[in-house]
Amino acid sequence: MIDLVWLIPLLPFIGFLINGLGRNVLPKPLIGTIASLAVIGSFAISLSIFLTFDAAQPQVIHLFDWINVGSLSIPFAFQIDQLSIMMLLIITGIGSLIHIYSAGYMSHDAGFGKFFAYLNLFVFFMLLLVMGSNYVIMFIGWEGVGLCSYLLIGFWYSNGAYADAAKKAFIMNRIGDLGFLLGVFLIITTFGSVSFTEIFPKAAGMVSGDATLVLITILLFIGATGKSAQLPLFTWLPDAMAGPTPVSALIHAATMVTAGIYMIARSNILFALSPVTLDIIAVIGLLTAVVAAFIALTQTDIKKVLAYSTVSQLGYMFLGLGVGAFTGAFFHVLTHAFFKALLFLGAGSVIHAMSNEQDMRNMGGLRKKLPITFLTMLIGTIAIAGLPPFAGFFSKDEILAHVYEHNKLLWIIGLFGAFLTAAYMFRMMFLTFWGNFRGTEDQKHHLHESPVSMTFPLIVLAILSIVGGFMGVPHALGGHHWLNEYLSPVLAATNNILPALSLDHATEYMLMGISVGGVIISIIIAYVKYVSKGYVPKEEELQSGFSKLSYNKLYLDELYTAIIQKPLDALSAFFFKVVDKSGIDGLVNGLGKVSIEASKTLRLLQTGNVGFYIFAMVIGIVAVLVYSFIII
């Protein structure tokens, strides 16, 4: 089966070609079917590889030599191991569901064919990202998904603001990508190779805290802050909600934005040997988690709440990586993919029913009209809030347990963020599904549950959000943490370096108790405020006091515009008008003028007056004679 691994990315690519070329001629149902089947086919192959793969060593499938220059050789090759298999399952599995969902969601859009072509192309690049056997193939996928993200955020590019959001996403990602690229260069100089199977064994022999490794990992992490929307580069992700909602679910929640965590998990040995970098990652991750949760508290656009929630959850994943909980962080990637894809698709279903309304202040009481959407979203919300036995509980708990052991202060802040999560998520649920309907009569008239193609993925994802956590049940709760064992070949070297969790069961129970108790209190507070008191946020209240800071996203966009964009544009104008035009070009023109003036002056000597010529000649002869007389 592993010989067929090249088919996994090829199928979506073929789907992209067919739908891309036939976007205006093929009928919509056929387009949707081709695109979905391509991804389902990849899922089937991934699944069979998952079921048959039992090698302790990564399998490398060499396709062709891509770039050869001097001693540098970059093969186009894939690597299959437990880590990439898990990612394959998530990408193609959730990808399939979202393709099916999109066939319903996008059915009225004029750009239907284009949409599915882009979506297939995205899956292709995402698969390259996780299958690449070296950092440069990974980088192809890394930037390729960025391109698809750009195309899909700007899908409705006639709206200038959407096009700006797309541009912003691409550029902010590029800032991170420069860090990634420099990291790759340093890897090449240090290890003489870009291939994982050559780099990691060599790295395992290096000492912890090696300065080169620290620099490599910091540069790679800068790459991750762009792609995975961490401070200071996260502001593109909320804007990315301009794209169609299935895109937000697939790209900006379940898969692409977790690429940074995948990359660090892939490079785990490099990071495990760089404690300084791990500390930086933990702090950045935690800060992002709390800041984004704080902002999510007051957002009124349902997709914006989910976007900041995603940023915040990604922060928790980085926090996990930072404290050495590689399995835990990756576990959270998986469970988050389930419940956040579910929540976004649910939000899409709501928006669909509400005739493209996204402001929760105009919703309310939808649970009767949209029962399936409501129930599945409720499951997703409980899962993200972290109540047992739903998926998010296990993964978040595992991360927080590691944080507790690592540093109590980080744990307290992280815990606080988790309470905020429960609060803003249930606020979203209460505003949307409880209370009275606050929209227009027109919207009320159109309210309907979504078609099967949309509710089916919701139901599947809801089931996964309930049971997904069972792949990592801790020993304290009588499990044996299947995921931990499954990933152990990939993390073997790291597990030798970083200490395993050594909390006794009593402490673990206490941590779980505090976390669950706090979450329940948060939910009750939200319930009292938004259901019992029926509070609906008003614009002027959001623009005052503490809310103002949160509602306006800490003014980060304004800050970046003021300290980066404006000065650079001013510099541009200064370089162009002053330095280039007046300065350098002025100098060049000056030189030209001087030579013209000089020639004008010299030209005056040639007067045509024979007398003057004779006079000059005589002077010259005298001069020559005097010269030779004096010298000789």
């Binding site: 220059v69 391109l147 550029i171 590029r174 690229l181 510099l571």
Partner: protein, 483 residues
């Protein structure tokens, strides 16, 4: 296959085109295609080792030791392919523009002769002849078919370039006088062992000529005006091919002939190149004229190529070799995009455009692919070049690489800003009726886009051509510097 056939066929083509007034453009296109076929035949016989192949060497002016000596090695070959490959595209892209004069096309083909001479000459005098021969036709093309300010702008371009080449001529004559065998041959120049001080000022003689041609900061101020005012065919010839004369000159003549001059001044040249990348990219941020924006972007990209050469390692040089081709393809594509916009909308002002993607989807796809190639997205040609160039610079100094690497951020900024302003948003009165590409435009853009992707996916085919020659040249220079 004889190299002379390749060299002189464009002259035949120019003559036929001139006499063939009515079918001048068809005749020019056929001529350029035949020349391309000759080049491909040569490529078929080419062995990718470090040797000089297809050598032709006749005494030309024996009294002065001047020979008509040409040959092709791994460094010439890619540029011969670039020149012969781009000419049909450039000629074809002028088809819809109603340039009826036969002299226009004859001049274009005449220029091809000069360019090919530059890229194959192994005699310094012949190189210089080719250098100036290529300048004359482009001068007339720009002066006769250019925009409003063409006369003033063109004069500056001409005087500036000529000034640079005079320094080079001075250097060539001096070197000739030093040769033991009264020769202009490149081998004799390579074998000279001049003292470091002499090589120092010789370095500047050549560097000025090449730096102006590319152009490298701060010798670039003729370029944006000229690119903007020239007819688009002229801009394509200048940016797609002619500036590579300067880059090629650095690799072939400047560094190998004056290695100790390079040792002294190379670092300064590198710094200028890196400054140019950032400086020109930042200027491109706020350009309102689409041709001028592309012109400044080109300065930035060429700066990176130059930087890759001045760090003098295999990655940098191989990156420069392949990026010369990539830049040629991408910039011709980009200027055709600009030309189509200007032709349809009668303006170069980006601010007056918008929403075109909606009414011209084919054009939008082509434009996007060329933008992606220019911003060096992986699996496009630009990535291969920038990756190798930045890696080359990185091996020299990590901070230079970090600064030069800003190009991948800044490039995305100005390119996507331009794409957004031109293609996205709502249409306005002028853009609502924008006609999608067709005929020759479609063909040229399709070829450009295909090349962008093919080279991005399988660059080894091109890298392989120059690899042995590049390594050989590096060893030759380094062994001189070693003692």
């Amino acid at each position: 296959m004889n190299l002379l056939l390749l060299l002189f066929f464009p002259l035949v083509g120019a003559l036929v085109t001139l006499l063939n007034g009515k079918f001048a453009k068809q005749s020019a296109l056929i001529s350029s295609l035949v020349t391309l076929a000759f080049a491909l035949l040569l490529m078929g016989d080419f062995v990718p080792d470090a040797s000089s192949q297809f050598v032709v060497n006749y005494p030309w002016i024996p009294a002065l030791g001047i020979n008509f000596a040409v040959a092709i090695d791994g460094i010439s070959m890619p540029l011969v392919l670039l020149t012969t490959g781009l000419f049909p595209l450039i000629i074809l892209s002028s088809f819809g523009r109603n340039i009826s004069q036969a002299s226009f096309y004859a001049l274009t083909l005449f220029m091809q002769f000069g360019l090919l001479l530059v890229f194959t000459a192994t005699d310094a005098f012949l190189f210089y002849v080719g250098w100036e021969v290529a300048l004359i036709p482009i001068y007339f093309i720009c002066a006769l078919w250019g925009g409003e300010n063409r006369i003033k702008v063109n004069m500056k371009f001409f005087v500036y370039t000529i000034a640079g080449s005079l320094f080079m001529l001075l250097g060539i004559i001096y070197l000739h006088l030093q040769t033991a065998d009264n020769s202009f041959s490149i081998a004799s120049f390579y074998n000279l062992n001049l003292d470091a001080a002499t090589q120092g000022w010789l370095f500047w003689c050549f560097f000025l000529a090449f730096a102006i041609k590319m152009p490298i900061f701060p010798f670039h101020t003729w370029q944006p005006d000229t690119y903007t005012e020239a007819p688009t065919t002229g801009t394509m010839l200048l940016s797609g091919i002619m500036l590579k004369m300067g880059i090629y000159g650095v690799i072939r003549w400047l560094i190998p002939v004056t290695p100790f001059g390079f040792l002294t001044w190379g670092h300064l040249a590198l710094v200028l190149s890196v400054i140019g990348i950032v400086y020109a990219s930042i200027i491109a941020f706020t350009q309102k004229d689409i041709k001028r924006l592309i012109a400044y972007s080109s300065i930035g990209h060429v700066g990176l190529i130059a930087a890759g050469i001045f760090v003098w390692n295999v990655q940098g040089l191989q990156g420069a070799m392949i990026q010369m081709i990539n830049h040629g393809i991408n910039v011709v594509g980009m200027f055709l995009i600009a030309d189509i916009l200007i032709d349809r909308l009668k303006t170069r002002e980006i601010a007056t455009m918008g929403g075109i993607a909606k009414v011209a989807p084919k054009f939008a796809i082509a434009f996007l692919i060329i933008v992606l190639g220019t911003v060096a997205l992986p699996l496009t040609n630009g990535f291969i070049g920038e990756f190798l160039l930045l890696h080359g610079v990185y091996q020299f100094n990590i901070w230079y690489a970090a600064v030069a690497g800003l190009t991948i951020i800044f490039g995305a900024v100005y390119m996507l800003r331009m794409y957004k302003a031109v293609m996205q948003g709502e249409t306005n009165e002028t853009t609502a009726s924008f006609k999608d590409i067709n005929g020759s435009e479609y063909l040229v853009l399709a070829v450009v886009c295909l090349l962008i992707i093919i080279i991005g996916v399988y660059p080894n085919a091109l890298l392989h051509i120059s690899e042995a020659s590049v390594e050989n040249l590096i060893n030759q220079v380094n062994s001189k510097l070693a003692f």
